[in-house]
Symmetry: C2
Subunit: 253 residues, 2 copies
DNA sequence: CCGCCGGGTTGACGCGGATCAAGGCGGGCG
DNA sequence: CGCCCGCCTTGATCCGCGTCAACCCGGCGG
């Protein structure tokens, strides 16, 4: 389950980077890779998928990929870096909706309103694949695997929304948050026990509906309980089973 | 904005009932009606939509429409009645995920896992249109309007998940909940100011992540502030503007 | 060099809402 | 009818976490 990092000493693993993907092989860790495979790498349809995608970036930390109210024209797959999505209410209070890692897709919640309902902000230097949505829809009509994939992506995000649901203690939320990140890194082939937190304590707190001080306290407690090792934003999970146990009420299964 | 009810005295309006819809006109208030219209009522495609839909019911209060783990084969549009979806963790604690009114669709979050990740339980005597999902997908490939509609339904539900996000006071949550219900009833042509709460206080509390006692107290306070009139589960909004104001941090716009 | 500033940690205190408890109401059933 | 059992309401108490405050640290600009 551990490191597929080529160079995996703790202080240095920077934010994982998805396969670069040349024109022929595309991004192996990308959310659409299975659609591509299903469609067949060599078929002419894949050329069409290549055609509607555009590599964009870099975006530096705190730069916007899109903003609330922008007209919806495309969805974005993270190639490298990390993104937070957030809403800002009219009193200026921020609400973090989610964090997106390499291989994950942002912008799906803009399909219905046809405008982005939130901001997307880079937390790291980040690169993206931009998929024109009209073109993608048209392709989906012709290639069932692409349509299916879009349905699955949307449905999957519906399911993950329930992570922050429920009135749970700060410990439960934090444990679930860490295990969720671990699982998502693992799903893309990165280490599930050692990774970098690209987001500030404040962002984590906001996402989990806690105060930043509480996040700090819980992490300190987890450390003193030997559940994790943490230095700044470098994290190692020392007892994933205990953490999973703690967060089980919030986690799938 | 008020009653389209044929008979609209307060104590009696039972749960609103969507158009029955004969074979030709289908359900006017249904979530798919615009897809049908876009496809054209008279085209042969509509016959196919009729073909993959099946009217099911009645389900009585507390009966399951589907259960956690059931294989995913279809989505359901509520024709009449009300449904709650919920997850039950292994300690037996219930978590209410949402309430669904006539014209709304349940089951979309099962597409990705291919099994229902939650229970759907009738709160009232309820009827449904059952849409075979494989058939629906196939149809979506041939009729862009149907595909677009499915994307929109999924995306819309993504947006509504953020209602319960955020750490907000019990008053804000309750006000937002009431206005959300009002808006959804209004969108289907029912009264936006007077309706029946099909769910118990306990269910509301669970959904809003409050204790049942808190829900009771907040409703009592709203009544004493002349914001609402409430008798048992019959509700009238006396000051929707004030309620919207209260809940604004949670509500769209 | 120093001062500043944003992010992080830690302690002290208070409040909102959970919990515990008691009682009312209505509906189903023996 | 009378009992029981959900559901709802209201009051009393308690506690987790938000808030306030102080301080540390590293980076950056003057």
């Amino acid at each position: 389950m551990d490191s597929k990092h080529p160079a995996g000493r703790l202080p240095e693993p920077p934010n994982p980077i998805a396969d670069d993907g040349d024109e022929a092989h595309f991004c192996g860790t990308c959310a659409f890779s299975s659609a591509c495979i299903a469609a067949g790498y060599n078929k002419p349809e894949l050329a069409q998928l290549q055609c509607l995608v555009e590599h964009v970036g870099p975006f530096r930390a705190s730069e916007h990929i899109f903003r609330t109210g922008d007209p919806f024209r495309a969805i974005f797959a993270v190639r490298s870096g990390t993104v937070k999505t957030r809403m800002v209410d009219k009193e200026g209070r921020e609400q973090v909706l989610g964090f997106y890692l390499p291989g994950e897709v942002i912008g799906l919640n803009a399909i219905y309103p046809e405008h982005f309902p939130c901001d997307a902000v880079a937390l790291d230097t980040s690169f993206f694949c931009r998929f024109s949505f009209p073109a993608m829809s048209a392709l989906a009509s012709r290639i069932p695997a692409v349509q299916k994939h879009l349905f699955r992506l949307l449905s999957k995000e519906l399911g993950s929304a329930s992570l922050l649901a429920g009135d749970h203690s700060a410990d439960e939320r934090m444990a679930a948050f860490l295990m969720d990140l671990a699982g998502r890194y693992a799903a893309r082939g990165f280490s599930a026990t050692r990774f970098h937190l690209s987001m500030s304590r404040g962002d984590i707190a906001n996402y989990l509906r806690l105060a930043a001080e509480t996040v700090s306290r819980v992490l300190s407690r987890f450390r003193s309980q030997k559940l994790i090792r943490i230095e700044g934003r470098e994290l190692e999970l020392l007892d994933p089973d205990a953490l999973r146990q703690l967060g089980q009420a919030l986690l799938p299964d």
